[in-house]
């Protein structure tokens, strides 16, 4: 079917997703800002607890990923974490996460930043390290507690969550194998946050067509052309989800049935978890996929770029799924808070 396979012999051994317990409904945010009318981008979104941040959520997701991989943390050779909300401007998140997981100190560790694409590029780097033989196992994490300016459109969607993957050489009992990956990046003025600024700014003119859709579709089309895949080869399509609508628009542009997009959708109920967003979609799909099925996951990060991966689900998925709570189980914890409590959780009250 294809003559050029980009990635050989590398697989996901364990995966884990984490979302905080708290939720705020979009209608509650709209009530405060007098925006009851009009279409809200999502139904509700996750809100971190007072004691949660990118690092703590990364640890939660990574613990589940290690439980599913069933490996000794001392075998992990790299801890990479992508986020746009690292708690420190200078002081790595990766070292704290690594020590909390109990890895050896003789590891690679890097913090990645690329808006919402930081998690998937952390994954690409782990694939490279495993593929080159520099490490046996590596852990790639996307985690964010994204901030939106009060009253801004982003406030409805900027959410909290994390996803982690233990990646190593393929074997008999792996969750899914990587087959190919492609990226596409350009200099795009769609969204940014300057140093020392608390909230990002965005240019609505650039958000959709030249940014999200162009990069997402370009990465996917490059995979189709260079690696010889057909869209009909895939059972699941996972997209970055800045809102609940864009992935379906992308699917329509590509001519993909929405039934293949729905299983990976989360933003309508958890919002946009930034670096964790498309990766949590992958977690949700791995919770239900069958061996032999093929997944196409494509991230998008402003600034801008997309990473696309082809994954084939393996036999090990059935057994591994049971080794940690599913995302559906974590979503069941949903507890709703009002806007006042939301401000407190998001550290927006300054005394």
């Amino acid at each position: 079917m294809r003559d050029l396979v980009k990635i050989t012999g590398i697989a996901i051994h364990g995966y884990g997703g984490y979302v905080p317990r708290y939720r705020i409904k979009s209608e509650e945010i709209a009530r405060v800002w007098g925006k009851g009318e009009g279409e809200l981008p999502v139904k509700e979104k996750t809100v971190n607890n007072l004691d949660e941040d990118t690092i703590t959520m990364a640890i939660e997701a990574a613990k589940y990923a290690i439980a599913r991989a069933e490996i000794d943390p001392k075998k992990i050779g790299a801890v990479n974490i992508g986020s746009e909300s690292h708690p420190y401007a200078v002081k790595p998140s990766g070292t704290i996460v690594a020590e909390a997981l109990g890895t050896s100190p003789s590891i690679f560790s890097a913090d990645f930043e690329f808006a919402c694409k930081a998690g998937s590029e952390a994954m690409q780097m782990i694939i490279g390290l495993v593929g080159s033989g520099m490490i046996e196992y590596g852990i790639a994490i996307g985690s964010d507690t994204a901030q939106g300016r009060p009253g801004d459109a982003l406030e409805y969607t900027a959410a909290a969550g994390a996803a982690a993957f233990v990646i190593g050489k393929t074997g008999n009992n792996v969750a899914a194998e990587f087959e190919a990956s492609k990226s596409y990046v350009t200099d795009m003025p769609d969204f940014w946050r300057r140093d020392y600024e608390r909230y990002p700014v965005h240019t609505s003119r650039f958000t959709g067509e030249p940014a999200y859709f162009h990069h997402t579709l370009s990465a996917i089309n490059a995979l189709m052309e260079e690696d010889g895949y057909k869209l009909s080869d895939f059972d699941y399509f996972i997209f970055h989800q800045p809102n609940a609508k864009f992935p379906y628009v992308a699917a329509k542009m590509l001519g993909i049935p929405i039934q293949k997009v729905e299983p990976g959708m989360l933003s309508h109920i958890i919002g946009n978890t930034y670096s964790a967003c498309s990766l949590l979609g992958l977690v949700k799909v791995l919770d239900e996929a069958k061996p032999g099925q093929r997944i196409l996951i494509t991230s998008y990060g402003s600034g801008a770029g997309s990473d696309s991966f082809v994954l084939k689900v393996c036999e090990g998925i059935i057994e591994k799924r049971q080794k940690a709570p599913t995302l559906a189980r974590l979503l069941q914890r949903a507890t709703y808070i009002d806007y006042a409590r939301y401000l407190r959780h998001r550290d927006k009250i300054r005394v």
Partner: protein, 135 residues
Amino acid sequence: MVFRFRIPSHWRAKPFRYRLIVYRCEDCGMVHQYPAIICRKCRSTRLRHTQLPQTAKLLSFTVVRQAPVGFEELAPYIVGVVEFEDGTRLVTQLTDCEPEELKIGMEVEAVVRKITQDGPSGLIIYGFKFRPRIV
């Protein structure tokens, strides 16, 4: 810059705070949170480095409303005593729950959370808390 926290002691506490690594006396069973050479209780030098289990049972809890310095932003919060399978007891914060959701004897699990921070420019301290177990 003036630090409210004694940074070296926080740095030394990492294995205990992040992963519940303790030093247990082989002779009297006393558990030490920090690396120790001699048992504080029986003076034995036979101390073994071990990890406490990640799950425990809730023995008791209370709600802290008048928080000490460094914890004001968190109040009200829950502090409890949990007991591990081997009988070791630990005082800990409980998170991701309201007091009315807690039952004595229920299973709780260790998570790593932000414990406190030394103001907006100081160190963030991470460490264990417990929450109702998610299964």
